[in-house]
Structures are given as C-alpha cells and as structure tokens.
Amino acid sequence: MSIRLRNDLAEIQRMHDAVTAFAGRCRLPEEVRLALDLSLEEVLVNVISYGFPDPGSHEIEVIIRVDGKRLTAEVQDDGLAFNPLEHPEPETAKPIDERPVGGLGIHLIRQLMERIEYHRRGEKNVLVMDKSWDRP
C-alpha cells in the first residue's frame, strides 16, 4: 500500500487508520502492526516538525510492502536533508533530571524494527525500515 500525507501533524491520524486497515487485510501479527504504527508516527512527527522550514505545503509518501513474513516500510519526503540514524542515542539510564527530554523517537524505532536505512536520493530523504517475523 502507499499513502500520501501533507506536512501537517493532523495527518498522522490518517496514517494510523490506513496502517490499521492494511494490517487487518494482511493479517500482520499484532506485534508487527504495533511496531509499524509506532515507527511511522515517530518518523512522520520528525519529518513534519523539523523538515520544512518554509510555510508551503509538502507531500510525504509512505509505502508499505509485505513479502512473505517480512515487512518493509519506506518514507519519502522532500524536506531538509536529515539522517535520523546520526542522531545520538538518548541516555535512558540516566536519572530523570539529568536526561534531555526528547530524542526518544528514533531510539524506539531502533528497538522496534530490525533494519533501518537512510538515503538521500536527489532532493529527497528516503528512510527504509524492515521487520520480519516467525524467524527460527
């Protein structure tokens, strides 16, 4: 499936609804559905919040494929070049008043997905995330 979203945080609800419907059609395991839903929210919040300093409207494309027991999700946007994998890991072991609030999104994606790749393709950011299930 693929869905095109505007750079508006309100669009994330539409993504959640589309992922829920897609997961039902493909009978994704609950754990995989949740990982997909949450990872996409984290990516989209980042892209929409920080990717577009201009006031114009932009389109973000989300493409999700299932091949056997492997899920691949790709997010493409034409915002500022940003590789989330270069973001430092948050210090989740630190006491509460010593840790910066924020930076948890990419940390969660790293925990939830198996493989994450970033490419700058022309004027676009392309983030690809994989997860498989029922592996021995």
């Binding site: 945080l9 309100a10 994330i12 609800q13 959640h16 609950e30 754990e31 949740l34 839903d37 949450l38 929210e41 984290e42 919040v45 989740t92 072991a93 630190k94 006491p95 509460i96 008043d97 840790r99 609030v101 924020g102 948890l104 999104g105 940390h107 969660l108 925990q111 939830l112």
Partner: protein, 110 residues
C-alpha cells in the same frame, strides 16, 4: 483518541487513560496533568486500557515526572498492558517512575 477519566482509590486520585497516547492526544494529557498535580501530592495513572504510547506521550510523562520530583510529589504508573510496558522499558522508565501491577498497589505505597 485518548479518553481520560478521573477517580479515587482511597484518598489517592487516579487518572485512567484509555486508547492511544500519541502526538494527537499527548497535549491534552499534559494540560490535564498540570491541573491535577497542583492539588495532589500523589497521583496514580491507571494504564490498564491504554493500547498505545509514542514518544510524544513518553515526553509528556517525563515532563510531569520532573515537575513532580521538583515539588516533592509522586506519580505512579499502574497496570499497563505488555505492549505499553515494553515501550516504557525501551525508554528506561523503570528508573524514573514507580511502575506497579495494580492501581490498588499503586495507591497503597507511600
């Protein structure tokens, strides 16, 4: 969608969260926590009907925890589902919040 209910367990105020704590609903919870915490020294969040939490929700809880600590108040997270517990664990919340299996337990501990 996030539904917030307010009740009491003994003398302790309990906020029940139902549904999804995501980028669309986290501000609603943040505003509510600010208000409720003004009047309480201890607050329990009943997460038994919370299905989903993203980093936006985690940040609201972290900010509330920092405010609570600064003013000698406490927030206890109770009765979360396994998928929510997993996200809290990934974020390292066990070292930040008291997490309990039940609301009764959360309200009873000093």
């Amino acid at each position: 969608m996030l539904e917030i209910t307010e009740g009491k367990e003994g003398q302790v105020t309990v906020l029940g969260l139902k549904g999804r704590l995501d980028v669309g609903s986290s501000k609603t919870l943040g505003d509510r926590l600010l208000k409720v915490m003004e009047a309480e020294t201890k607050l329990v969040l009943d997460l038994s009907e919370l299905d989903y939490i993203s980093s936006s929700g985690l940040q609201v809880l972290l900010l509330a925890a920092i405010r609570a600590k600064d003013s000698n108040r406490s927030i206890v997270l109770a009765s979360m589902k396994p998928q929510v517990k997993q996200i809290l664990d990934y974020a390292g919340f066990a070292g930040v919040f008291q997490l309990t299996a039940s609301v009764e337990q959360a309200a009873g501990n000093p």
